[in-house]
């Protein structure tokens, strides 16, 4: 089991060192630690998938995998000069409230870890979609050797072979390094992303708004019933939530810092990894690029837009190129798209009852998320008001726009759903889709809301 665990932790360590080099040090160190999870596992995924596509298998794949990763790390550390961290912590005074918030957060974190471990003990293979889709694909990739393309067999369409491969390849890669299958690996991958999301949220809000806001954000996420369970279910929804949050954090840091192009490059890379985690990540990539382009054009002009988007697409390039080749050469068409035709889609678009059903379910699920997290946060916002810092309010506004457009996209997907009964489609997936967006929504909320220690900010 140890080689498998090291196969996961090794790239994370390399990513941590690379981010240190890029200036994620000092006050940015906690954000660095949380970002390294996705950056490391995502880079390892790209390298391993490239090896698979190029025809490497077994020990060849292991050697190519390790050599490429070490080569990339050496090249990076050799070529990139040490950059200095430019961000400073907001000067929030330490108070008894902050200490109390830290204690409550740690208690909730321990509770979350306990529940996660309990879930893994109770269901080592994960919940339904974990073994029927994600771990099934990982087994094909690991067990089939050079016949791994069998996983796209037309007889397996029920297991959605069009779904992106970041999670299964990450699991299969660790199994390959380990030499045998163990349920600990997918559990560890799930744990890294689940608690990486919590850590990233707390670290980023702490950096941008102070420790009290950071711990409060962490408490709300850990108190959201369903988040830890969804993580321990070994689905790809929580890894996707992690990458969406990572992009949001990197872009908010860039808005605050307006410095080197490193942050948009990293945001582009993380966007590509989100697109490789679930198909919803591809919608996110389109939405985030659109919102970003419009915002920068309005506020900073064409030149700044070209500079930032150039850097963003530089980061997006490798995962996007791999994804396009996967979609064109390996994956069958998505059932949600392949089933569309004028004859079947038009009646759905003109069915008023369908709109009402979907809107009603969205409203009900949003009200029940947590449960009742949104009404609690609205009450909190009404009591405290907005923060004063304009750049943070702008970042939060952009993120809320991205989230609203994502919800609109999900609405269209349900509206045109090929399922015979859209209520069942909604009932089996909408809660997970909302939880994918939840950490990013909390990040945007805690950027926007005034701190309880700074009354009169509104």
């Amino acid at each position: 089991m140890i080689p498998g665990v090291l196969a996961l932790l090794g790239p994370i360590g390399v990513a941590f060192l690379a981010l240190l080099r890029l200036g994620f040090s000092g006050p940015l160190l906690p954000v660095n630690a949380a970002l390294s999870v996705g950056l490391g596992l995502g880079t390892a995924f790209c390298v391993h998938f490239l090896g698979l596509v190029l025809g490497f298998a077994g020990w060849q794949l292991l050697v190519a995998d390790a050599a490429l990763l070490l080569g990339l790390a050496g090249l990076f550390l050799g070529l990139v000069g040490q950059q200095r961290a430019a961000l400073a912590l907001p000067g929030e005074p330490l108070s008894a409230w902050t200490t109390g918030a830290r204690v409550i957060f740690l208690v909730l974190l321990l509770g979350g870890v306990y529940r996660f471990v309990l879930d893994c003990w109770g269901s080592p293979h994960g919940d339904w979609d974990a073994w029927a889709i994600w771990n099934l694909r990982a087994r094909f990739l690991f067990r089939a050797g050079d016949s791994w393309r069998e996983t796209f067999s037309p007889f397996l369409l029920w297991s959605h072979p069009d779904y992106p491969l970041l999670v299964p390849v990450t699991v299969a890669r660790a199994w390959l390094h380990d030499g045998h299958e163990t349920t600990v690996i997918p559990q560890l991958v799930a744990g890294l992303f689940t608690f990486g999301t919590v850590g990233l949220l707390v670290a980023a809000v702490t950096l941008l708004r102070g420790p009290l806001q950071g711990y409060l954000a962490g408490c709300v996420l850990l108190g959201t019933v369903g988040f830890i369970d969804l993580g321990s279910a070994q689905y790809a929804d929580v890894p996707l939530a992690y990458f969406l949050l990572a992009v949001a954090v990197l872009l908010a840091l860039h808005d605050r810092q307006q410095g080197p192009i490193t942050l948009p490059v990293l945001a582009g890379f993380m966007t590509g990894l989100a697109a490789w985690t679930k198909n919803e990540g591809q919608l996110f990539a389109i939405v985030v690029v659109g919102v970003r382009v419009v915002t920068i054009l309005r506020t900073a002009g064409v030149r700044a837009c070209c500079r930032e988007m150039g850097a963003f697409f530089l980061g997006l390039l490798l995962p996007l190129a791999l994804l396009v080749s996967f979609k064109l050469l390996l994956a069958p068409p998505s059932d949600l798209i392949a089933a569309q035709s004028w004859a079947t889609t038009l009646p759905k678009l003109t069915d008023g009852g369908r709109y009402l059903l979907i809107l009603g379910t969205f409203a009900g699920q949003l009200a029940l998320l947590g449960p009742a997290a949104i009404p609690v946060l609205v009450g909190y916002f009404l009591l405290l008001g907005r923060c004063r810092a304009t750049p943070l309010r702008c970042s939060a506004g952009q993120l809320f726009l991205v989230l609203a457009l994502m919800l609109a996209g999900y609405f269209v997907v349900y509206l045109t759903s090929p399922w015979d009964n859209v209520a069942i489609h909604l009932g089996t997936s909408l809660d997970r889709l909302l939880l994918q967006l939840w950490p990013t929504a909390l990040f945007a909320f805690f950027l926007l809301v005034a701190s309880p220690l700074s009354p009169g900010e509104s």
């Binding site: 109770g122 293979h125 073994w131 791994w148 067999s153 408490c219 108190g223």
Partner: protein, 122 residues
Amino acid sequence: MLLLFGFGLVGALRLSADVRPFQADYRDREELARVEERFTLLHAALPQRGTVSFLPGRRDRPMWYRCQYVLAPLVLAEDGPYPLAIGLFDQPPEVVLNGAGQRLRLASDLDGVQLFRPEDDQ
């Protein structure tokens, strides 16, 4: 602030009070374990990879998916034309037809999961 701490603590308490992970039917745990165990015997009679026909007599889709998970990377082709077939019949017939119309005879029945082979092979 107390509102948010209260929200977090109530959520954590709800999770702590949830006893579902201790239950045998939690996330299909026992069923998957049973299928893994049942197929240990069948594995030896099956090829390591490739495709076999799958005849889900009782149209039990969850069982079909569990079988696929356990037998991967062997592909189970529903009503496929392949000469080796796995069946899920409550009352297994002695002879079945695969997707190509080939007659297959029952070779073994392991706790509700059957293996069929071409008549000529037996």
